[in-house]
């Protein structure tokens, strides 16, 4: 149980800075997921918390103790690696108990604790096997057990599920969450898989190019993405983006071809004349006969998803996707009307990519 503070942390390799001043507060017992594409600095950040990378500037504190100069094992962190990193020549029991052996715990106590931890992750029958004789999921469990046995204050996960097949990944995801609820350690989980992030996190941290784009609950991040980047990264199928100009007179965004997408009056008034990117989630759009929607678009092709169908449209020079559970039949090349659900419009400034919201008094309030 520990609280982690990351204050203006930077990391440079030689002259190149890869993490540009990150601030993050992680509360005790919280499950934080750091989400981002490869190369965004998320793993580097995690490894700095673990002590496997040095911090170039800024402070990392665990329970109000600056840990910048502490050795990894002194920080009270345990880590689960992407490739499991099990010792190939040791049995499962030896792998799990190695940290305790290094710490000098007597053999009897060690075996008892290995037994207890192995029971909690369902590994009791495999204790005498070697990692080479285990399946991917079992190896993952050994890696988890090895972390759990140290009773860490902080649990660090570096893309631990990316080597598993889809079904096992879901199963291990549940297990990780169950273990987290059970041992109450603060957890930091790094992944590039948004579904993993959304389902596991108490709070999500979306990173891009070495900076944090947004921190919030999965719901907040999905419903109010703070930037074009977050909007496009979170959500599957991905958000549609259209460009246009805000007009207070029409209380709408005017697209290049003259089509208008209505906006709430205060929002339009606050940003009159501004060029903007509109984000529209495929699941918040609906198909209606031509002329009945906000605008018309030419149908290209559809993808069957089982419970719903994904329709691809040509609109201006962009592809637009609509997710529909009703699955209406549409002919290729035929224009269809697209209706925009209430509250489905996400507005971002065209130049900065930041979310636009209406200012009411001195407080910024979300009206969209």
């Amino acid at each position: 149980m520990a609280q982690i503070s990351i204050r203006n942390v930077r990391k440079s390799y030689a002259k190149q800075e890869v993490v540009h001043g990150v601030d993050l507060e992680v509360a005790t017992g919280e499950f934080i997921v750091i989400l981002g594409p490869s190369g965004c600095g998320k793993s580097t950040l995690l490894r700095m918390i673990a002590g496997l990378e040095s911090v170039t500037s800024g402070d990392i504190t665990i329970d109000n103790r600056v840990v910048n100069d502490l050795e990894p094992h002194q920080r009270g962190c345990a880590m689960v690696f992407q490739n499991y990193a099990l010792y190939p020549h040791m049995t499962v029991a030896e792998n799990i108990g190695y940290a305790l052996k290094v710490a000098g715990l007597p053999k009897v106590d060690r075996l008892a604790r290995v037994q207890a931890v192995a029971t909690s992750v369902g590994l009791t029958e495999f204790l005498e096997r070697r990692p080479g004789q285990l399946s991917g999921g079992q190896r993952q469990r050994v890696a988890m057990a090895r972390a759990i046995i140290r009773e860490p204050k902080v649990f660090l996960f570096d893309e631990p599920l990316s080597n598993l097949d889809a079904k096992l990944r879901v199963q291990m995801r549940h297990e990780i969450r169950r273990i987290h609820n059970h041992i109450h350690a603060t957890s930091v989980f790094v992944t590039h898989d948004q579904q993993e992030g959304m389902t596991l996190a108490d709070r999500l941290v979306v990173m891009n190019k070495g900076v944090i784009e947004q921190v919030g609950t999965p719901e907040e991040i999905y419903h109010r993405p703070a930037s074009v980047y977050v909007g496009g990264f979170i959500g599957s199928p991905a958000m549609n983006f259209l460009s246009g100009q805000i007009s207070a007179q029409d209380s709408a965004v005017v697209l290049a071809n003259g089509a208008k997408i209505p906006l709430p009056v205060p929002l339009a008034a606050a940003h009159d004349g501004q060029f903007t990117q509109i984000g529209l989630r495929p699941e918040e759009l609906a198909l209606v006969p031509a002329g009945k929607g906000a605008f018309d678009a030419a149908f290209e092709f559809a993808e069957e998803l089982g419970a719903a169908r994904l329709y691809h449209f040509q609109f201006e020079d962009l592809m637009l996707t609509v997710l529909s559970a009703d699955k209406p039949a549409v002919e290729k090349g035929k224009p269809m009307g697209i209706r925009i659900g209430a509250g489905a419009v996400h507005l971002f400034a065209a130049d900065t990519g930041k979310r636009l919201s209406a200012k009411v008094g001195s407080r910024e309030r979300e009206l969209v």
């Binding site: 673990a50 496997l52 050795e71 094992h73 880590m79 990193a85 020549h89 190695y98 940290a99």
Partner: protein
């Protein structure tokens, strides 16, 4: 290229068989020569079938060549070279692979260069060092003027000497100091995934603990391969022991074998005792052959590095 035609099969087997004969024929002739009396050995045409004198010749070679003492010496040196080499190359490679420091590459290249300077090439300077192992330090002190300074200040003449001639240390140390083993280990250590090192760090294992608990168990096959190579290499040493040992109580078997074949000039025209020399050869060959046979499985695995 895998092709299976009867003709190709016959040809390949012929090539293999001729290679085998080429290898075994000298061995066979050694056994034949070792099992006859001197007159039969030098008879023309030569005898190609083994005789009945093998045991007599073996015993004579054993006593005449003092092979009991020589075996003990050679075992001590071979084991010394073997363990020294394994320990040193393991530690050197460990330092080169798992630590980041500025001298890493220069040190690596210094070690690399020694590959081009085998003992035979640098035998004179090596002998000079063996005659006084502290000579390099003495030279440094002399050149830097520290010797002069000390004698000027205190009147004491600095003169360091550590003679390694006629000692096991003198036999062993120059044979240990070569780069091959370091390379074998370095290549192996480079295959260890970075995450394994980090996992050990998270588990609280320091560098030496990691070396002992993880690297050494993982490199068992490497150790076996290196041990085999080094044992045979040290056992067969001739030139260096010949040079560094004048006291016969430190003599090694290969040198002794040379003495079993006396020069014509030294014997006063007497015919060299080939049958005894061959019997001695048989005895001396035995330990390396046994080591290779017993270690073969490990040896091959260590060199192809598949046991992971």
């Amino acid at each position: 290229m895998i092709e299976r035609t009867p003709i190709l099969n016959i040809v390949t087997h012929l090539i293999l068989a001729s290679g085998l004969i080429l290898l075994l024929l000298p061995m066979y002739l050694t056994i034949v020569a070792a099992s006859h009396t001197l007159n039969d050995v030098i008879a023309v045409p030569p005898n190609l079938l083994p005789g009945d004198q093998l045991w007599v010749n073996l015993t004579e070679a054993w006593t005449k060549g003092h092979l009991g003492d020589r075996f003990l010496n050679t075992f001590i040196v071979a084991f010394g070279v073997m363990t020294g080499k394994i320990v040193m190359s393991c530690i050197t490679a460990f330092g080169l692979v798992f630590f980041d420091h500025r001298l890493k590459m220069p040190i690596f290249w210094l070690i690399f260069i020694t590959l081009m300077l085998p003992l035979e090439v640098r035998i004179v300077p090596t002998y000079a060092v063996a005659a006084n192992a502290l000579l390099p330090f003495q030279t440094l002190l002399d050149l830097s003027g520290i010797t002069w300074l000390i004698s000027a200040v205190s009147g004491i003449e600095v003169k360091m000497e550590w003679n390694l001639l006629n000692s096991y240390a003198g036999l062993i140390m120059p044979l240990v100091a070569t780069a091959t083993g370091t390379f074998l280990y370095r290549q192996f250590f480079l295959t260890i995934p970075e995450e394994l090192v980090e996992a050990a760090k998270m588990d609280g294992a320091g560098p030496l603990r990691f070396l002992w608990d993880v690297l050494i168990p993982l490199s068992r096959t490497n150790i076996a391969a290196l041990a085999t190579i080094m044992f045979v290499y040290a056992w067969n040493q001739y030139l260096w022991p010949l040079l560094v040992v004048t006291d016969q109580s430190y003599a090694m078997v290969a040198v002794e074998l040379g003495r079993l074949v006396p020069k014509l000039s030294a014997t006063g025209g007497e015919v060299p005792k080939w049958h005894i020399a061959m019997a001695g050869t048989l005895i001396v060959m035995l330990p390396p052959i046994l080591v290779v046979i017993f270690m073969q499985r490990w040896f091959v695995r260590g060199l192809i590095n598949t046991d992971k």
